[in-house]
C-alpha cells in the first residue's frame, strides 16, 4: 500500500526533479532575496514573479510535531511523527521525522532532510534527527 501520491505540476516539477536526485530545492526570490515554501507563481514576500529554484542545506529545526496513533490509510504504520520543520533558510514545511522514537524528539530538535522513494517519479522529502 502506497501513501497518498503527490502529482507534480509544471510549476512544482523542479522540486520533485531535485528530490529524485535527493536534493531539497525551494524557491528563492531574486527581487527581495527571500525564500518561500510551498512553490508558487509569485513571491509571497514582495509579489515579484522572479523566482528561482535553489538547492538548500536540508537542515532544519522542529517547530512542532505530533505523534499520530491513527492513520488515514494503511500506508502509514502507527505511531508515526508528523512535524513542521523550520528550514535553516527560513520557510517551514510539513514532513515526517523517520527512524525516530517519540521520546527522542522535541520542539527545537535539529533535523536533516532525507528522501523516501515512493516510486520512480516521487521521492518524498522526510527528515531524520541530525
Amino acid at each position: 500500500m502506497i501513501r497518498p501520491h503527490p502529482e507534480p505540476t509544471p510549476l512544482t516539477e523542479p522540486f520533485w526533479q531535485e528530490a529524485r536526485a535527493r536534493r531539497l530545492a525551494i524557491q528563492h526570490c531574486s527581487s527581495c532575496r527571500q525564500y518561500q515554501f510551498y512553490p508558487r507563481i509569485h513571491c509571497i514576500h514582495c509579489g515579484a514573479q522572479s523566482l528561482e529554484w535553489e538547492v538548500v542545506s536540508g537542515r532544519g529545526t522542529i517547530y512542532s510535531y505530533t505523534v499520530s496513533m491513527r492513520a488515514p490509510t494503511p500506508a502509514f504504520s502507527v505511531p508515526y511523527i508528523v512535524a513542521i520543520v523550520e528550514l535553516d533558510e527560513g520557510p517551514r514545511m510539513l514532513s515526517n521525522v523517520v527512524d525516530c522514537e517519540p521520546a527522542e524528539i522535541t520542539v527545537g530538535s535539529l533535523v536533516q532532510v532525507d528522501f523516501l522513494a515512493l516510486d520512480s517519479e516521487i521521492s518524498l522529502p522526510v527528515f531524520r534527527l541530525a
Binding site: S64, T66, V67, S68, V82, T106, L118
Partner: protein, 390 residues
C-alpha cells in the same frame, strides 16, 4: 463592522434540528429545513417572510442556497453560500447585517445541516484533496490527520513553550461534559466524565486524546436575523447583535502560520468588543468552538481573557463549568453536546437561549452579554460575535 450598527440588528429566532444519529433516511437538506422551520416559528414568522438565505455547502450539495430556497418555496433576494469552515454561520450573521443594511433583504435565514454521522462522510484523514493542489503535494503525503493533527501541532508547541500539562485540558473536557449532563438533547447527557477517565482515554494524535476531540454527530441549526425594529414585533424578546468581527487568516493549512499560537481572535476579539462597547469584565457567558480542547485554550488567550501562556490555568477547578465563575460552552459544546461537522450555528443558538432564560437546569443566572467565537478550517478563519439583551 461599523460601530453604528451595534444593537441595530437582532436575532429573532433560533433552533436545532434533530441531533445525534438521525439515520440513513435523513439528508443535510432535511435537517437544514427542520431547523429553519423551527427557527422561523420561534420568531413567530412564516417562511414567506424570509427573503435572504445564508447557508454553506456540505459534501453533497454544491449550490445549497438555491436548493434551500426552492425547497422552502421562497424567492430569496440574497443567497450567500460563504464557506470558511466552522465559523461560516457566524460570518453569515455579519453578511446578513450588511445585506439588510444595504437594502438587499429584510429577514435573513441562516441554516446548517449535516448527516456526517449517519452518512459516514467524516474520515480521520479529512476530506480528499486534488493531488496537484498545494496540500495534495505537500501535506497529504505525510499522513497528518485532519483536522486533529493541525490542532495537535499547535498543542505540542504550547506544551513546549508554556508547560501545558494533561490535566489543564482535562479540566475543560470535564467541565464541558458537566454542562452536557444538564442538557437533555446532548449526546453525552447520560454519560459523566471524570478527570481519571479523561486521562485514561487513548491518544489519537499526541498530545491530543480521544476526550480532547469533538463528537461526530448529525444535526442542524438555524438563526433568523432582522432589524431591531422588526424583531421587536416578533414572538420573543430580541437578542441584539452588539458586536461582530471576522477574519480569514493568511493561511489555509498550519505550516503557513507565522505563529501557530497567534490566531485571528487577537483581531476579531477587540474589534467585536469595541463595536459592542463592552470589555472583558462585562461578558457573562462564553461560547467558544471546541472541536478540540486546544481551540478554547488558544481563544481565551487571543481574545485577551488572559495573558499568553496563562490559558492553561483558565479552566482549572471547574471554573468554566456549571458552578464556575466563567461559564463556557453551556450546551455541552462540540465535545459533549453535538458536532455535526461545523459547530458555529450552535454557539449562537445556545447563547440566544441563555440570554432569553430558556435553559432550565443549565441556565446561567443574570446573563446580559454573551461572547461567541468560532474557528474555521485549521485556525484559518475566525469570527467573534457579542450578543446582548435590549
Amino acid at each position: 463592522m461599523d460601530h453604528r450598527l451595534s444593537g441595530q440588528y437582532a436575532i429573532a429566532g433560533v433552533a436545532e434540528s434533530d441531533l445525534g444519529v438521525v439515520g440513513p433516511g435523513r439528508t443535510e437538506l432535511s435537517l437544514q429545513v427542520q431547523a429553519a422551520l423551527r427557527a422561523i416559528a420561534d420568531a413567530g414568522l412564516t417562511v414567506k417572510d424570509v427573503d435572504g438565505i445564508f447557508v454553506q455547502p456540505g459534501p453533497f450539495e454544491r449550490m445549497p442556497g438555491l436548493l434551500l430556497a426552492e425547497y422552502l418555496g421562497i424567492q430569496a433576494r440574497v443567497n450567500d453560500t460563504t464557506m470558511v469552515g466552522g465559523c461560516s454561520n457566524l460570518q453569515h450573521i455579519e453578511h446578513a447585517i450588511a445585506a439588510i443594511e444595504a437594502g438587499l433583504c429584510e429577514v435573513a435565514l441562516i441554516a446548517y445541516g449535516s448527516t456526517q454521522r449517519s452518512a459516514g462522510t467524516r474520515q480521520i484523514g479529512g476530506v480528499s484533496e486534488d493531488p496537484r493542489s498545494p496540500r495534495g503535494q505537500f501535506e497529504i503525503p505525510y499522513g497528518l490527520l485532519s483536522p486533529i493533527g493541525s490542532y495537535a501541532l499547535a498543542t505540542t508547541r504550547y506544551r513546549y513553550l508554556y508547560g501545558l500539562e494533561d490535566t489543564d485540558l482535562g479540566w475543560l473536557a470535564v467541565a464541558t461534559r458537566e454542562w452536557a449532563n444538564l442538557n437533555p438533547v446532548a449526546y453525552r447527557h447520560d454519560d459523566p466524565l471524570t478527570m481519571s477517565e479523561y486521562l485514561a482515554s487513548p491518544w489519537i494524535s499526541w498530545p491530543l486524546r480521544r476526550d480532547d476531540i469533538c463528537l461526530v454527530t448529525d444535526g442542524g441549526g438555524a438563526i433568523v436575523l432582522t432589524r431591531i425594529e422588526r424583531a421587536r414585533d416578533c414572538a420573543k424578546k430580541p437578542v441584539l447583535v452588539l458586536g461582530i468581527a471576522s477574519r480569514s487568516n493568511a493561511h489555509y493549512w498550519v505550516p503557513g502560520l507565522d505563529d501557530i499560537l497567534t490566531t485571528g481572535a487577537r483581531v476579531t476579539g477587540p474589534e467585536a468588543m469595541s463595536m459592542a462597547g463592552v470589555s472583558h469584565q462585562d461578558i457573562d457567558l462564553l461560547e467558544i468552538y471546541d472541536a478540540f480542547t486546544t481551540m478554547p485554550l488558544l481563544a481565551v488567550e487571543n481574545l485577551g481573557f488572559c495573558e499568553r501562556g496563562q490559558g492553561r490555568y483558565f479552566f482549572h477547578n471547574g471554573r468554566t463549568g456549571p458552578r464556575g465563575e466563567m461559564p463556557m460552552n453551556t450546551s455541552g459544546g462540540g465535545l459533549s453536546y453535538c458536532h455535526p461537522g461545523m459547530f458555529g450555528v450552535f454557539l449562537v443558538v445556545e447563547a440566544v437561549r441563555q440570554l432569553r432564560g430558556e435553559c432550565d437546569s443549565r441556565q446561567v443566572k443574570g446573563v446580559q452579554v454573551a461572547l461567541c467565537h468560532a474557528f474555521g478550517g485549521v485556525l484559518s478563519a475566525e469570527s467573534t460575535v457579542l450578543l446582548g439583551k435590549e
